[in-house]
């Protein structure tokens, strides 16, 4: 997949970091404002997809290879499961540890921000990996994996 024109490349270079930071913001503040893990993860993956569209697949594969996407996917999912099980050991399943009533602060609401971060990582990696698998890697008629041009 080749890149796009110079205008797109310049704008992307300016905007890509903001998209990533915006995605991280939505994930982190998920317990205070609308958003949370899934929507923040979608925005993060959109940032990566924008990089792919503008600069070509080699560039974004350099940033996050197919194998790394899969690994981060599993790590996010396992982190979520571990958070759930940790609460389980101490109290009950998904029990909300450290839920001090310090509302409207960032460090409140116990395990929810950790779950949000785990989900954000997982969704971002998974959607990016899915996009790569569908659009970039094509299975040739002989059965081997060919990379599309």
């Amino acid at each position: 997949m080749r890149g796009m024109s110079l205008i797109v490349k310049t704008v992307t270079r300016l905007v890509a970091e903001f998209i990533t930071i915006f995605g991280i913001y939505i994930v982190l503040f998920g317990h205070l404002t609308p958003g949370g893990g899934f929507t923040g993860g979608v925005i993060l993956s959109c940032g990566f997809i924008l990089l792919t569209l503008a600069f070509g697949k080699d560039f974004s594969l350099h940033v996050l290879s197919k194998r790394a996407a899969g690994t981060w996917d599993s790590i996010g999912a396992l982190a979520f499961l571990i958070v759930a099980l940790v609460g389980y050991r101490v109290g009950s399943f998904f029990f909300n540890l450290w839920a001090e009533p310090a509302t409207f602060k960032l460090a409140s609401a116990g395990t929810i921000p950790i779950s949000n971060i785990a989900i954000g990582v997982k969704v971002g990696a998974a959607l990016f990996g899915g996009f790569m698998a569908l659009a970039v890697f094509r299975r040739g008629a002989r059965g081997g994996y060919e990379e599309d041009e």
Partner: protein, 510 residues
């Protein structure tokens, strides 16, 4: 500190499913996959057995109080225990079988990861007490199964998986619609609170419409006629262990269990829904077996028989519902429900065994067409014996387990005042017998063709998986009247359904 093992039933397979893809490119990935999966399946089986000591168990996830609308409850009673036993036992046998069978496919790591996801979803469906949670687990199991049906990536498998996907998505959409309607009408999502609401405030007409949506949605997942169109393509095309899981457990846990739970425990028992279930069951039985008799592809024949046997179970549930709603004798209703649940149990044992033996035959000879086989029992003794046991069970020959459950259903139909349905059951049983006599004559007995002179028996792991299920077939039939089977497993299941609306009191008050 409450330490409940219920969440482990879901957390263990989920953990296995998430850890396995990490090893995708590692050298010995297949061996790691085998080890992790067998370990998880074994632990699940042990946990399920340990659940049988308690009467019932409720867990409110996250310690939300039962009074609030928001908490999710996990509730295990006799019916859930029965299904958990079915799911985890068949999973263990199939995992053992898959270790050898999937050598011919790519990437065992990904196969076992998807498999564990499917098991996690099914376990979640039967232990949850909340409608939306049911939907979420239903989707987890369904999506994993869509991917597994397409696993071999041959053209047939992809076409079958696509058809299954589209129809399954329609079903899930209908189920979610029904859940939304229920929430709108009652304001509750928890099954026990819904049941309580229906008892005090009655069932509004829109809630009845939601019930119809549920019949369409869950009926499609459970392969009732006229929603059966995906099954004859999906089950034969999938790899044999997946066919066994799909036909043996998935259509039960996702389809039949949900229907039973909804229409016997959540909704007050109504004769209209009972009649609908009886009708669906009768039509499924008849059409399934009629289309099966003319098949020459072994797995397609088995798939059509699945539709027919599930028809028996739904028929039994409908008869039970009909009797209960008329205020009739609980003994007759109990008999019908007992027959239906016992047939559920038996069917998962012998249908999975049949699919596994068809897979063994395919592994050894490379064909699924009955006309090309013959005399295989001489060269493959273990497969031959297991296939014969399963065929006799499904055809309803005493003393195997199929005979008892069909007999109980037919008697209950007669006692409840539906002689035509009883007669239909006998007719379908006869046609099933005809069909499996054909199977045995072509696959096992008869002349061994030239090209199969040198086939060998299947590897040990595959044989072990099959033997486990065969033992269950034999044991369930013989041990029906002795305590462990009857009072520990089957009767609590039947009682859980018989209690109908007392379910609410048990969950909320207990």
């Amino acid at each position: 500190m409450e330490f409940s093992i219920l969440p482990l039933l879901v957390a263990i397979p989920l953990g296995a499913a998430f850890i396995l893809p990490l090893f995708h490119r590692v050298k010995r990935s297949a061996k790691i996959a085998d080890f992790v999966s067998i370990f998880s399946a074994g632990m699940l089986f042990v946990l399920t057995l340990s659940l049988f000591e308690d009467a019932r168990e409720i867990l409110w996830v996250g310690r939300w109080s039962p009074k609030s609308v928001v908490g999710i409850s996990l509730y295990v009673d006799g019916l859930s225990r029965l299904l958990l036993l079915i799911i985890n036992t068949v999973s263990l046998a199939v995992v053992l079988y898959s270790v050898q069978y999937m050598v011919r496919y790519t990437s065992r790591i990904l196969y076992f990861s998807l498999f564990m996801l499917m098991v996690a979803g099914m376990n979640g469906v039967v232990i949850t007490g909340d409608m939306f949670n049911l939907f979420v687990f239903l989707e987890i199991a369904s999506i994993a199964s869509y991917a597994l049906v397409a696993f071999g990536c041959e053209s047939e498998e992809l076409e079958a998986s696509f058809k299954y996907l589209i129809l399954g998505s329609i079903a899930s959409t209908f189920v979610l619609f029904g859940i939304g309607m229920l929430y709108n009408q009652t304001g509750f999502l928890n099954m026990a609170q819904l049941s309580e609401h229906f008892q005090t405030a009655g069932v509004s007409r829109l809630a009845v419409m939601a019930g119809c949506f549920f019949i369409v949605g869950f009926g499609l997942k459970g392969a009732m006629v006229p929603f059966h169109a995906w099954l004859p393509d999906a089950h034969p095309s999938a790899p044999a262990p997946i066919s066994a899981m799909l036909s043996g457990v998935l259509i039960k846990a996702l389809g039949i269990y949900a229907l039973a739970r909804l229409f016997l425990n959540v909704y007050p028992v109504s004769s209209a829904f009972g009649t609908i279930m009886m009708l669906l069951g009768a039509v499924s039985m008849l059409i399934g077996v009629l289309m099966a008799v003319g098949q020459w592809d072994f797995k397609r024949l088995l798939a059509y028989h699945s539709i027919s046997q599930m028809g028996y179970v739904v028929l039994a549930l409908g008869v039970g519902m009909g009797v209960l709603s008329r205020g009739g004798s609980t003994v007759v209703a109990g008999l019908a429900l007992f027959g239906g649940l016992f047939h559920l149990f038996n069917h998962s044992a012998f249908k999975s065994l049949l699919f596994l033996s068809s897979g063994s035959i395919e592994y050894a000879t490379g064909t699924r067409q009955l006309k090309e086989m013959g005399g295989l029992r001489k060269r493959m003794p273990v497969t031959g014996v297991c296939c014969r046991i399963a065929s006799l069970s499904i055809a309803g020959i005493p003393p195997f387990n199929g005979f008892w459950s069909k007999w109980i259903i037919i008697i209950a139909a007669f006692l409840a005042g539906h002689p035509w349905l009883g007669a239909l059951g006998v007719l379908v049983a006869f046609l099933t017998l005809v069909s499996f006599v054909k199977v045995q004559r072509y696959a096992l007995d008869g002349e061994l063709p030239e090209r199969y002179r040198n086939v060998r028996e299947v590897p040990a792991a595959m044989g072990l998986g099959m033997i486990i299920l065969a033992l269950i077939c034999v044991a369930a039939g013989v041990l029906l009247l002795t305590p462990p089977l009857k009072s520990l497993i089957m009767e609590p299941a039947r009682d859980a359904l018989l209690k109908t609306s007392e379910y609410a009191r048990l969950v909320l008050g207990g």
